[in-house]
Amino acid sequence: MRGTLSVLLAATALSAAMPAIAQDTEITEPVSVDDVAALGDVTLRVWADAGEETMLEKLIPQFEETYPNVTVDLTLKGWGDLMGTVVNAMNSSTPPDVTNGNQGFAIMGTMVRADLVRPLDDFIDAYDIDEGLPASGFSSMQWNDEGTAWGEGDTYAMGGATQPLGLFYNKSKLEELGLEAPDSIGDLNEALAAAEEAGEQPIMLGNSEQYPLGSHVLGILIDMYSGVDEINGWIAGQEGATFDTEGVRQALETLESWGEAGYFGRGYDGMSMDDAVASYGEGEGVFFLGGSFNGARLAAVDPDAFGFTLLRGESGDYVTTGTFGTPWLVSSKTEIEPAALAFLGMMLSEDFAQAYADVSRLPNKGLDSVTPTGSMHEDQLAAAERLFEEGDFVGYLDWATPTMQRTMGTQAQMLLAGRTDVDSFIEAVQSDWEAYQAERAEQ
């Protein structure tokens, strides 16, 4: 009896001690300049997506001035290159202290599973990062300890500027057509038909990289016709979830009908997304379905010529695919943790928000306080605010499995080319999903 008790006591003591060992540097308040100064002269290694370059060009000098003992060593990579190398880099003996990653099983899941990243819940509390932000935006960055399921558990990452998907519209074209900016999927369908009738190309699309048709365009449509939990549950791999839902069917049928009506024009599979954004900026096409991240390019052409809006789905709510931005993670092996946290702290602070806004981005902190670059940016800030207040984030469909990006991209192209139908589309996607769930169960 006594033996059992002491074992129990020991177990209790051990379990109480465990988190302390795992996170013996848990913080309760923001890291101070002195905390960082105590590290001596150090170099902070940062890996980032090239899309963050302009933001970092402002952040790094400011950071090095505030923390003069730290030199930032920045490595910028294109998205594909970064995703191909970041997990191995984090696994190396000299990992970046702070890095961009991506949601989903292949990148963040692997890093959590291999204990390569530090949970950031204490940091988020200490810096009030989550204040005023919808909880639904965090779920894609929360993982169980095994790194096999997301949606709850410790939070391992945070982004700086939210990136909701939505609808861009060409203001002068809408005026010519005598249309208001759509606010719901019903409005959009009417506007597309009217644009087509008037001889305009309703939607500008460049999909030569099998993207963004199967991810952004289809994602928005699925958001319109589905319940948030239904889709998020499927993406997160909940048991018994299925892609074969009424909402998905309706979304696919709509996409198919848009294709049949010629709303995307011709040759979109031979044009890259960048070229399509450029053409749209030059005035081709009435609408563009994409992410707020496409906005910077359009704002650079003319900050007031385009508008941006979220759409209300069939439920009447604003529902859209999106995130708090490309996630930032901190290495569990970093030897200069205070510097790493201070770097993220400064990047995600309200004081730094204007730096994002200056390049037409949407800082999570300070959507209502930053000065916009023009009326389109103002629309975007307002849309993000509305989303934070009353809307819900849906995850990206391609987080569902490591191969989903290709499966969705492939199937979407085939659907519009008449090489598959809605039933086979759903079957292909669901069988990809099921194969991966079986594999996950084996892990």
Partner: protein
């Protein structure tokens, strides 16, 4: 015993047999540094790849032995079979067409004296030395819906043929393939021109005296004379065709649908995107084996008969 002594031995073959054998064994020592480098950077990775192919592994956490499952998947999944099929189609465009075009150019050259040959040769060889990303971007523009090919078709009143060539299910694979033809035919041509210049001109004179026409002359003199060069050209271009990745990646990313997916893409995707390293390794092993079999067949098939 030094090398010099050995060379002396060779000049004096009547020397004692032992004298020749001892230094020969010693000579292998000279190969050791090179062999070690080759083993460390070539053989060992190959062995490792073969080893990984029997595991389920994300490249980071623990590996799980799954036997032949990766290979089974490779040979039973209709998609992977189609993808290897695309690899074989690429051989037509990357190897066979360039060799035929190269031969045609040489056949013409042996009959007609071409002025400014050096410039002509350099210009045709140029695609070979351009960075493939540059080539891909240029061709993306050429093939684009509003690109020059469609503009010419419109001019000729064949507007019904216009399309985004790389984005069309029917034309994407051939369009990507033709980029490969354009890149590789210069290499074949340069190899063949070099080879043709070595052919004894007396053979041509003899053929002409015997009344051979251009076709007979080509078949009887030029073609047999180029056997070695054709073999080299085929080995280089077939390998190139099967490991082709950069052009596909930078023009179509494997689309539309799965029309232009190639084996190297499978390997890239497994190793870097889906983190299914074992499957990528298995695909690498199969691709390597395929390349070895094909190049060996070419070498044996075109071996000079003395």
């Amino acid at each position: 015993m030094s090398t010099v002594d050995h060379l002396n031995d060779e000049r004096a073959p009547e020397g004692p047999a032992e004298n020749r054998r001892v230094p020969r064994a010693g000579h292998f020592l000279y190969l050791v540094p090179g062999f070690l480098l080759y083993a460390a950077f070539c053989l060992w990775p190959i062995a490792q790849t073969a080893y990984f192919s029997f595991f389920r592994w994300d490249g980071i956490t623990d590996m799980r032995w799954i036997g032949l499952r990766n290979y089974l998947e490779l040979f039973t999944d209709p998609l992977t079979l189609t993808i290897f099929g695309h690899g074989l189609v690429m051989i037509v465009f990357y190897a066979i067409l360039p060799v035929l075009i190269g031969l045609l150019i040489v056949a013409i050259m042996t009959r007609v004296r071409i002025r400014l040959l050096a410039i002509f040769r350099t210009v045709l060889f140029l695609p070979q030395i351009l960075a493939t990303v540059v080539v891909a971007v240029a061709w993306r523009w050429i093939y684009a819906y509003d690109g020059p090919i469609n503009a010419v078709l419109e001019l000729l009143g064949m507007g019904f043929l216009t399309r985004a060539w790389l984005g069309d299910f029917d034309t994407a694979l051939a369009s990507v393939g033709l980029i490969g033809t354009w890149i590789n035919f210069g290499l074949c041509m340069v190899l063949f021109i070099g080879g043709a210049q070595k052919i004894d001109t007396q053979l041509y004179e003899a053929a002409r005296l015997d009344g051979a026409g251009p076709v007979q002359e080509f078949l009887a003199v030029t073609l047999p004379g180029l056997r070695g060069e054709i073999s080299i050209a085929l080995i280089l271009t077939v390998t190139n065709a099967l490991r082709n990745f950069d052009i596909v990646w930078n023009t179509t990313a494997g689309g539309p649908g799965t029309e232009t997916l190639v084996p190297s893409y499978l390997i890239y995707e497994g190793a870097f995107i889906t983190r299914n390293v074992g499957f990528a390794a298995a695909a690498s092993v199969v691709l390597t084996a395929l390349i070895l079999v094909l190049t060996a067949s070419i070498t044996i098939g075109l071996r000079r008969r003395y």
